[in-house]
C-alpha cells in the first residue's frame, strides 16, 4: 500500500492566497498560451465590488468566504531528474505533498461579460 504524507513547510504557517473563479474558459488572443501574459485588470469599487476587465470585456463579481477552505498542494514525486539513476535502485522514492497555501475566500464572477464599447458613433 502507498502512504503519501502531506505536510506544511516547517516553521511558517502557510501563506494565504485568493481564488478567482470564472465561468467559462480563458484563452489567449493569438493562441500563444496563457503563461507570462497579462490576463486583465482587477478593480474594486468604493463598495468593495470586484470588477474584472479582460480584453474588451467587463465582469462584475462578488467576494465570498469559502465554506470549506482550500489548500494548494505541491507534489514532490521523489523521482530524481535523471531517469537512468532511478532504474538502478529497488527502493521507491516516496511521493509527498507540501502545502503551498491556504485559500479562505474567493472572488466569483458569474455575470455575463459585457463588451466595453469605447467608440460610440454619434447619432447623425
Amino acid at each position: 500500500m502507498v502512504q503519501i504524507v502531506i505536510s506544511s513547510k516547517a516553521g511558517e504557517g502557510p501563506a494565504e492566497w485568493l481564488l478567482v473563479e470564472l465561468q467559462g474558459e480563458m484563452v489567449s488572443r493569438q493562441n500563444t498560451g496563457l503563461a507570462g501574459n497579462l490576463m486583465g485588470d482587477l478593480h474594486y469599487t468604493k463598495e468593495g465590488v470586484p470588477v474584472l476587465v479582460v480584453g474588451h470585456h467587463i465582469l462584475y463579481g462578488k467576494q465570498v468566504k469559502l465554506e470549506k477552505p482550500f489548500a494548494v498542494l505541491m507534489k514532490h514525486s521523489g523521482l530524481p531528474q535523471d531517469e537512468e539513476e532511478n532504474m538502478e535502485t529497488n527502493q521507491e522514492n516516496p511521493t509527498s505533498y507540501t502545502v503551498s497555501a491556504l485559500i479562505k475566500k474567493k472572488l466569483i464572477f458569474k455575470t455575463r461579460p459585457k463588451p466595453i464599447i469605447t467608440n460610440v458613433p454619434k447619432k447623425v
Binding site: 500500500m1 502507498v2 502512504q3 503519501i4 504524507v5 502531506i6 505536510s7 506544511s8 501563506a15 492566497w17 485568493l18 481564488l19 478567482v20 473563479e21 470564472l22 465561468q23 467559462g24 474558459e25 480563458m26 498560451g33 496563457l34 503563461a35 507570462g36 490576463m39 482587477l42 474594486y44 468604493k46 468593495g48 470586484p50 467576494q63 470549506k68 477552505p69 482550500f70 489548500a71 494548494v72 498542494l73 505541491m74 507534489k75 505533498y97 502545502v99 503551498s100 497555501a101 491556504l102 485559500i103 475566500k105 472572488l107
Partner: protein, 352 residues
Amino acid sequence: MVHDLLESFIVMSVFFISLIIRGDKDEHAVLCNEDETYDLKIADTSNLLLFVPGCKTPDQLPDISASPQLVHAQIWGFSNCYWELRRQRPRLKKLKKLLMENPYDGPAVGMQEEAPGPKYTMDDLLERIQASREEIEAHLQNVHACEIDGFWRILDFDYEMKLLGHVTQLVDSESWSFSKVPLSVCLEELGSLEPKSMIEHCLNCYGRRYSNEDGQVIYALDEDKVCRATAQLLLQNAVKFNLSEFQEVWQQSVPEGMSARLDQLRGLALLDRSSKPETISLLRIEDLPEDTLERFNSLFSLREKWTQDDIEPYIQDLCGEKQTTGALLTKHARSSVQNGVKVYNSRRPIAT
C-alpha cells in the same frame, strides 16, 4: 509551463494539520489525520479556478481614496478540478483479518520456538490499513489485541477464554467481589499457569482498572463482557440452539453472581422468535461485510424481514455523521407492517 503547474498542483477542500494518504492499488484512496479518516474524491467544475498569491481584497486595502493604487499580482496557476474530502468510517475489517492470520494461543511449549507466521508491528499496520493511527489503536483494543515482542497479536478465542476462566475461578475461590479484583494477587496466583502479561491483558479486556485508597491496582470485572464472551463460546459450537435451553446453560456457565441477559448479546447473536421452539444462533457483526450495500444484502439473505430492533445492532456502525439507523433503513430497505409490527425487507430481489 502552465501545464506543468496543473499536473503538480492539486487543490483540496479542508483544513488540516498533518495528513497521510493511504491506499493499495485496488483501493480508493483515503486521507487520514491523527484520528480521522476521509474519502478522497475528485470534483469537477465547469468554472475556471485561478489561484492568485497575495492578491488583496477590499477589506485588506488601505482606505486611500485620494490616489489610485496599482498592484501587480501574478496568477500562479489554475484548475478545473479539486479533491473533496468526505468524513467516513475507517476500513478496519482488514485489521482483524491480518491479525487472524496468526493468532496467539500462548507461549511456546518447552524449548520449541513459536510456530512461524505473519506478524505485524504498528508501522506494518499503518502501511496496510486505511485508517488513522488512533482509529487503529482503538480497534486493536476492541478486538482484544495485545503487543507481544513488538508485534500486535490477536488471541485465539479459546486461549482468551482459558485466561478468563483462570481469573473467574480465582475470584470465586477467593470470594472476592467482582468489582474488587486485586492485580497483584492474580499475578501471584496465576503467574505459574500463564504469562503474567497475559493475565494482566485479560483483566484489561474484561475489567475496568482503578486504584484503591492504598494505591493498589484493582479491577472491576465487566459483567456484560464476561457473559457475552461466555455466550460466544457456547454459540460457536452449533448452528442453532433452542433458546430456552441455551439461556439455562448460559446462566450456569457464567460466574456465579453474574446475570446473563439477552440484551448483552446485541451484535453477537440473533434470536428467531417466529420458529417453534424459539431459537438463537451466532451472528457476529464483524463477520458481515463492511460495505453498506453488501451488508444489507447479506442481512436480507439471512432473513427476509427484520424488525428495527433486530437489525439495528447490525447496521449501527454504518451510520454516517449525524445519520440515524432509521435514515439508513429508509434509504436501503422497504418497510411494511406484518402482524401489527413494522418490518423491513430488501429493496431488490435477494436469493435466500
